[in-house]
Every structure is written in C-alpha cells, then in structure tokens.
C-alpha cells in the first residue's frame, strides 16, 4: 500500500537502527507514547535492534486501557435498559468492567453493536427512532473530531435519541505527568503521530522546554519509529530539547484546523480520570453545555457506574507511566494473560502487556553486554 510499504523496508530499518547506535554515546531511555507504536516496535523487534544504546519504554497511549472502570460500568448499566442500543468501537467490548465486559452484556440479551465510525451510530439513531442510541466515545484527539462531527450532524438533524457517553482523553497532560514524576526514567518522547496530525505540535513546546526533553512527533511504521528515535537521540547527544516532526507526510505544526475547530465547537477541556493513572488536570474532553442534550451522563443521570476497585495484583499504573516494563510484573504471563487479564493493558490489542504477551518469549535479562 502506498505511503505504508516503503516504510517497512528491512534494509532501510537496519540502516536507521545502525545510525541510532552510531549516534548514541551512552544508553538513553525513550518512551513511545502511542499503543500503535508499541505494537509496531514489538511486532518488528525494533527494540532489539537498538537495545545496546536505547531502552524503549511504552507509554499510556492506549485509550481502551485508560478508560475508567466507572465509565465501563455506566455503559453496562445503560445496556440493561431495554430501550438502549449501545454502540462503540470493537476494541471496547472485551474490556472488563466491575461486572464483566460488553460482549457478556450482549450475550445476556443487551443491544450492543460495533460501529466503524461514530457517524454510523448517529445514522442508526436516525433510522431507528424508537431506540435510544448511546455511543461510548473513547479515544484520543485523533478520534474526538469524528465524534464531534457526529454530534454536530445529530444536532442539525434534530435527533433526540442519540447520546454520547464521553471518555475522551488528551495526550499532553499525560506527558506532563510522566515528565514531572520524581521517579521518571524517560529522557525523550516519541509523540503519537496521529494525535499530532489533528492537534499539531504547539501543545508540546512547553513540556519540552520545562522538562528539558526532546519530543518527536513520530509515525507508526518501522522506518518512522527508527527515524524518530534517531532524531530524539541526536537531540539528546546535542543537549537539545526541541519539538520536532518525524512524521512529516501527515503532521503539520498547526495540525488540522478544520478538525480542531470541530473539537472546539463541541467539546471543552476537562479533568478526567485515567484508569491506572488517576485524575489528570485537563486530561480529557467533555461536551459543551450547548450539547447537553447529547450527553448521556446528563440525559441518564440515574445510570451510574459502580467503579469497583481494581485487582490489587495489577501494576497497570506503573506500566502505563513507564516505571515498569510488562515482563517485570510478577503476574505477567502467570495470573495475568489475555484470556484472564488482571488489567486493561493485557486486554486491548494495543496494550503494552498484550503486545509483550503476543510477540515475546520471557526475557532472561535486559541489560546490554
């Protein structure tokens, strides 16, 4: 496929990896933010190519992993209403809430449907006026504009039976939290390419400056990730701490102005709890007052989530902040597997724990020779 295959060339990847090793005078620690990047790194073994000089830590960029239990429980409670049709992306249906996942709710007779686009859920509401269609809206800034467009269309159509259960999260507050942690191990970030495609890179400037950390907006194919690493390592060696764009074919400094305007029209920045991390100031989005009629939390105030406690054995908090690598968790591959996950990073295909489980044999040691 054009714009994809050329970035999967093995020779190109080896040359870029060699350039990273040659440029680094010591071992640096770099965190890739997005779960899609984590997946690509482990699937292609990129971490092994640069291990002598770069330790890769995996960031919190898996929306499925950070959606709070309370939101999942609220979705479960909505499905129990006979008039509600709950729609979401397929990834969300396997994530365990306090009382099982949404596939289980569907097996018990609940009307749960997978959609490809939030607009499909809005169109369903238009087609089936007798149903109350609720879209479980998760995702980063990449996904939120699609949800905003669906909400705006629903308002134009005067749809009263379409609501959003919003759990959108924003990347910069999470990077700020990781960068300012006293036990921080990260020297530089590879920022999530498609989040930057929408938002641009300006929000990252103060984080790079305040914490003296290079931040490189990076794509998702092997050559993208290795080139992003090379740019980050080059900055670290020079003592620079700048925001750079590796993923230039898709990221402009100003992002996508039309998508940002849509976000601004429909959503406002709000504090949001992140599963495994806690509440982050400005960590997410909520619907503006002008969209209150589309807000499931306001339209169904009686439906709340139990928000039971997480498994005490799950270390997702440390994994999501890059403090602990998945194989270092005592439960990894033992009490916690994709079939019997203790926490969300083992459930989602993009979760760091699931990626290690899928692609890696247990590692005896991590240090370079």
């Amino acid at each position: 496929m054009r714009f994809v295959d050329e970035y999967r060339d093995p020779d190109l990847a080896r040359r870029l990896a060699d350039a990273v090793l040659a440029r680094a005078s010591r071992r640096w620690t770099v965190m890739e933010v997005c779960g899609g990047q984590t997946h690509a790194i482990l699937a292609s073994g990129l971490d092994a190519l640069v291990r002598e000089r770069v330790e890769l830590l995996h960031g919190p960029g898996c929306p499925v992993c950070v959606t709070p239990l309370e939101t999942l429980d609220r979705a479960q409670a909505l499905v129990e209403r006979p008039d509600v049709t709950l729609c979401s992306f397929g990834d969300m249906l396997r994530v365990p809430g306090s009382h099982g996942d949404l596939f289980g709710a569907r097996a018990r007779g609940g009307d749960v449907r997978v959609v490809y686009s939030p607009l499909d859920a809005a169109r369903l509401a238009a087609r089936e006026p007798a149903r109350r269609v609720v879209f479980l809206a998760v995702g980063f800034e990449t996904t939120a504009p699609a949800v905003a467009a669906a909400a705006r269309w629903a308002r134009k159509q005067g749809l009263a039976n379409f609501q959003l259960l919003v759990s959108h999260v924003r990347v910069p507050p999470a990077l700020e939290a990781i960068a300012s942690a006293p036990d921080r191990r990260v020297d530089a970030f590879l920022a999530a390419g498609h989040v930057c495609t929408v938002m641009g890179t300006q929000e990252y400037e103060p984080i790079a400056a305040r914490h003296r950390m290079p931040i490189v907006a990076t794509g998702f194919e092997p050559a993208d990730i290795l080139q992003g690493l090379l740019q980050a390592v080059d900055q670290l060696e020079r003592g620079a701490a700048e925001v750079e764009i590796q993923y230039r074919r898709a990221v402009r400094p100003e992002g996508n102005p039309a998508a940002r305007a849509l976000l601004e029209e429909v959503f406002e920045v709000a504090d949001r709890p992140w599963r495994g991390i806690g509440t982050l100031p400005g960590g997410g989005l909520r619907l503006r007052g002008s969209y209150a009629a589309f807000d499931a939390e306001r339209v169904f105030p009686e439906v709340t989530g139990a928000g039971a406690a997480e498994s005490p054995d799950c270390r997702a908090d440390a994994v999501l902040r890059g403090i602990l690598r998945p194989p270092e968790c005592p439960e990894f591959g033992r009490a916690c597997t994709p079939d019997h996950p203790l926490g969300a990073p083992m459930v989602s295909a993009e979760g760091a724990c699931a990626a290690y489980f899928a692609y890696r044999a247990p590692e005896p040691e991590e240090d370079p020779p």
Binding site: M1, D9, L12, A149, H194, A223, R248
Partner: protein
Amino acid sequence: MCLAVPGRIERVDEEEGLRTARVAFGGVRKRVCLETLPDAGPGDWVLVHAGFALQRLDEDAALELRGWLAEPESGA
C-alpha cells in the same frame, strides 16, 4: 485505536447534509466523511480514521526517507 489508513479520493459528494468522498484503499472503496477536511478533492491522498479524513498526505515529505535507501550516510 489511533490507526489511520491512507487512501485516494475518487469522487466528492454531498449526502445527508455532509461532505463525503469515495476513497479507494487499494482495491477497497469506502465512503469517508470530509467534515474534518473540507477542502480535500479528487486525486488527493488522505489519511482516514474512524470514517473521517484526518489530513492530506504530503507526497514530497513522503519521499524524504527514500534518501536513506540511496545514501546510507545522509543525515538525520
């Protein structure tokens, strides 16, 4: 979840009050919403996520990495 796929716009339409496009992804064609990228037109390569076009792909920038294949010593 932030997966986005490149495709080429074949035709632009107006449907149900929305600007949409028919986009070819290799052999697969899908209807994509252009509310997030209203000035995209036929022939443009766009990045599509959750049924919406996120950005036009910059073909010049896409060629930059090929320098690495021809010239392994070229800079970062």
